[in-house]
Subunit: 99 residues, 4 copies
């Protein structure tokens, strides 16, 4: 079985001039889009990313840096990893299983 | 401006017999579907619910009880509330703003 | 058995002028301190609050409002509830059980 | 300025036979204790770990594996990173700033 985790990533820049943080998030998303071997889906509260754990955490580290490169001085990043090893499940499978 | 929050709700039953918890989550979703004045969207990591804060928290309390009624003895519930009052934004607006 | 949950509460004001948000958090803490029937403990990442679920959620709603009264226009509030009904456990018990 | 983040780590094994998961968490804590260059503090809801981001994420990956080595088949791991670069702050500083 392929090693595969479902994760949710949420990056929150603090101390920005305005309540809107979408320019920061759009730049984060650009980095996620370029990640090889990772699939992603944007939601209203974060981005669901799927792939091998090591690559997911590597991507987390890269994405966490993005708001700093755009001027933020403080970033709170939330990651949630769901790792099931009795059988392989995708985010899509999980949605179907309960709908 | 209408009082309106975007929230993410995730219910995790612990100590269940198997790694799959979808029967519990399906029952939670049934309660969410019946909530008046709340819109929802299922993701691979939880459910995004939108509505007035008081009603969202009322629903959280109801949904948190569901796994206990189905035999779970421990439930971890995670809630994330995004409340913006300079302008009204839906989860869909947020996705569009960064895509 | 007394109904009793352990929760973690974290309030993040966005779009504040500076990276420091401690004046907002201190004001939130004042509201937590005044809550009856709730015990609390401040950590480096949030506040652990313990009490009956309904009272905990009532307090969450009050605390979430605090940064708005101090000028914030967007607040992200994270709540995590750990509710165990096979036996009553406090946050202190949980720390002792694994140390 | 030394690169330094405050993080909160929480590991939740699912599908364990009983609601208590403390044997799993105690084993996770053993791994955290052995990590070099990382300071930690156990709370009622997780473990606060502090150190350079790369080392923190390396530790997260190691700790996430622990419950699987003890028989769990599904693990949900939650990480929250607070990274402030305008000045260096520890978890202890943060508690003092609002108390």
């Amino acid at each position: 079985m392929r090693e595969w985790v479902i994760a949710e990533l949420r990056v929150i820049p603090l101390g920005t001039a305005t309540p809107s943080v979408s320019p920061y998030i759009a730049a984060c998303l650009d980095v996620i889009k370029q990640a090889k071997g990772i699939s992603y889906q944007l939601t209203g509260m974060g981005t669901i990313i799927e792939g091998p754990l090591a690559q997911v955490l590597e991507l987390v580290q890269k994405v966490h840096e993005v708001p700093f490169t755009k001027g933020a001085q403080r970033v709170v990043t939330l990651i949630s990893i769901d790792d099931r090893r009795d059988k392989q499940v995708t985010a899509e499978d999980k949605v179907k299983a309960v709908s």
